[in-house]
């Protein structure tokens, strides 16, 4: 095999695989530390995720959220931006979805109501990201810091709105009133029942289809359109992109808008799909989880769908683990997210020197150079 072919295999397959395996191995060590047999834990986890139809429903329900936030992070990554504001954008996106529903006539057909609400989520999510994007592009403030600040601002804003403005009268828990029926996204178990297929009730709703369609659209946008090309060019080499006539500043703002809009769709799955009202903290963990999903999925929509499924399995399986073992909680998934971000992200090239020495000996590279 030629040197270039070997390098492509190492970078494209071997390294990512080794990194994921390392993250899993580290988790296994943690299981041993807390006296849980990792093998049994994996079995319980898989049973929880796929063993019964309600579990399957939950798995795909969580997957949906991870697809949205994973795509959000990935689109920003392609422009060389690190959007850690997914948490806030998802939260505010949900607010937007809910506010649109409340603003419309409750009798309005779902065919109008639901798309309008989706637009609400997109616009609000984008609105929460456009500020950091603008400040990065035109004022030079660092996107990471501003998006972190916007996460906190979203949290404080929502505490205020939920406890003072949107609170359902007579309610103690901070939640809005229920959405009218016409704004409810159909549950998958109801849809399947129409076709005579019986599955158990679960929060899984039609947002999963939306997520898959959006994933395809993101792929199309990034690799088949002029804008997508501009975004990727900016991310790869901003100077070269500028020389090629791409307006870098505009690209940064547009990318952040798209990223925020995608994160905002979490609100559709959570609120229109399941809770049917605006609640507090429905978004927690998905924004950060999206970073792990994007890194693991190598920023490609196809990889992201797979990685999101993996995290969906972990999320739902983690609930099963917590049910079976009193000394485990679902936070094991949070640990895994951290490990995946560490090994697939920050330590991405940890094995590379070693692999290079092993698989591409110096004589080889000398030949390649010649």
């Amino acid at each position: 095999m030629s040197r270039d072919r070997k390098l492509a295999w190492i970078n494209g397959l071997l390294l990512p695989l080794l990194n994921v395996l390392t993250a899993f191995a580290a988790t296994a060590v943690l299981f041993l530390l807390i006296n849980v047999n990792p093998w049994e834990a994996a079995q319980t986890l898989l049973y929880g995720a796929f063993g019964y139809s309600e579990g399957v429903g939950y798995t795909f329900y969580y997957t949906t959220n991870f697809i949205f936030t994973g795509l959000a992070v990935a689109v920003a990554f392609h422009a060389g931006l690190f959007n850690i504001g997914g948490e806030g954008q998802a939260y505010i996106g949900g607010l937007g979805a809910g506010l649109v529903v409340f603003a419309l006539f409750p009798e309005l057909s779902p065919l109008v109501m639901i798309p309008a609400s989706i637009v609400g989520a997109l616009v609000f999510g984008a609105a929460w990201a456009v500020g950091p994007g603008y400040l990065q592009a035109y004022r030079g403030s660092h996107i990471v810091i501003t998006t972190i600040m916007f996460n906190f601002l979203a949290a404080t804003l929502m505490v205020y709105l939920m406890s003072k403005v949107l609170l359902e009268p007579g309610q103690m828990t901070p939640q809005s009133r229920l959405f009218p029926d016409n704004a409810w996204l159909p549950f998958v178990h109801d849809v399947l029942a129409n076709f005579g297929i019986k599955v158990d009730r679960s929060p899984l709703n039609m947002s999963i289809l939306l997520a898959l369609v959006v994933a395809i659209l993101v792929w199309f946008f990034l690799w088949q359109t002029r804008w997508g090309y501009a975004i990727r060019a900016t991310g790869r080499n901003a100077t070269a992109a500028t020389y090629a006539g791409i307006n870098q500043k505009k690209i940064i703002v547009v990318t952040m808008c798209i990223s925020g809009a995608l994160a905002g769709l979490v609100g559709i799955n959570e609120l229109l799909g399941y809770h049917h009202r605006i609640i507090m903290n429905f978004h927690v963990g998905y924004g950060f989880g999206g970073i792990a999903v994007a890194l693991m999925g190598r920023n490609h929509p196809f990889g992201i769908v797979i990685a999101a499924l993996l995290f969906g399995i972990l999320y739902q399986g983690g609930a099963e683990l917590a049910f079976e073992w009193s000394n485990i909680s679902r936070d094991i998934v949070v640990v895994m997210q951290g490990l995946v971000i560490l090994f697939c992200g920050a330590l991405e090239y940890m094995y590379k020197p070693w692999l290079m020495r092993w698989l591409v000996p110096v004589s080889d590279s000398a030949k390649g150079a010649a």
């Binding site: 906190f152 404080t156 936070d331 640990v335 971000i341 560490l342």
Partner: protein, 326 residues
Amino acid sequence: MDFSDLWLTFLLTLDATLRLATPLVLAAMAGLFSERSGVVDIGLEGKMLAACFTSASVAYVTGSPWLAMFAAIGVSMVFALIHGFATITHKGDQIVSGVALNILASGLTIILGLSWFRQGGQTPSLTQEGRFLSIELPGADLLANVPVLGPLYKELLSGHNILVYLAFALVPVVWWVLYRTRFGLRLRAVGENPKAVDTAGISVNGLRYRAVLIGGVLCGIAGSYIAIAHNAAFTRDMTAGAGYIALAALIFGKWRPIGVLFACLLFGFLQSFAMRIEGVPVPGIGAIPVQLIEAVPYILTVVLLAGFIGKAIPPKAIGKPYVKER
């Protein structure tokens, strides 16, 4: 309300300010070392959280707050080492690494806590002996009746635990290390122009590792303060964003010790002010939403970063791994 009541309320607000600003000061100084050497430290939050958990656990098992703090410093340094390994040795993305550590700490503390103590991820409450207790400065009661200055001494200056005094005493030390020692000069240089430092025959990586480890020590103290001095147990995500506020203070103070100190005090004051004003109507305005005051540090940071009030210029080489030329 007469003058002495008003004065007392004011002093009590400032007193709370000191207590709330302490972890911010410690964490911001940790970030200062790291970032002045060119390594971004988003992971302040995670290191503090890990330290919170370690100190609360060790204090519960051994009953010694000092032992607990040293253990917490150790764990926090391990986290710092991971950050260094990923970003200095392997030249990984500093922000990704920091985010990983934050998430890792948030999950790990709960999983280990649940497994060790079976209290839903919390650690058992500490008795007085496992904690850092407040220290009455000499003569506080004696002077309490002196008008104006008496309460100032008793309520504001006296009656904090040792870590509060330590944190504020640390600031001039940090200043001195940074601006008056050879190590400090090199540290600042490596954050501005690592190539020049390398050319002078000084190890860039060595300096950065040292800076990151000092950050680990300080975050360890900050976490211990939160868990076993300010509180008496570990609870889920108990740092509650203090690491990020410290980061904001670091930027707001423009990466300089004294400026950062004042930023921490300002943010601490806003927090204590928000607590005090909750539900109290302000004449002419009505009740100010607490959330608005809580949001001020974040808004201020965004505005400052945008260059609308002065310009925060970060160390030049920040965020960039140093690649030695061959």
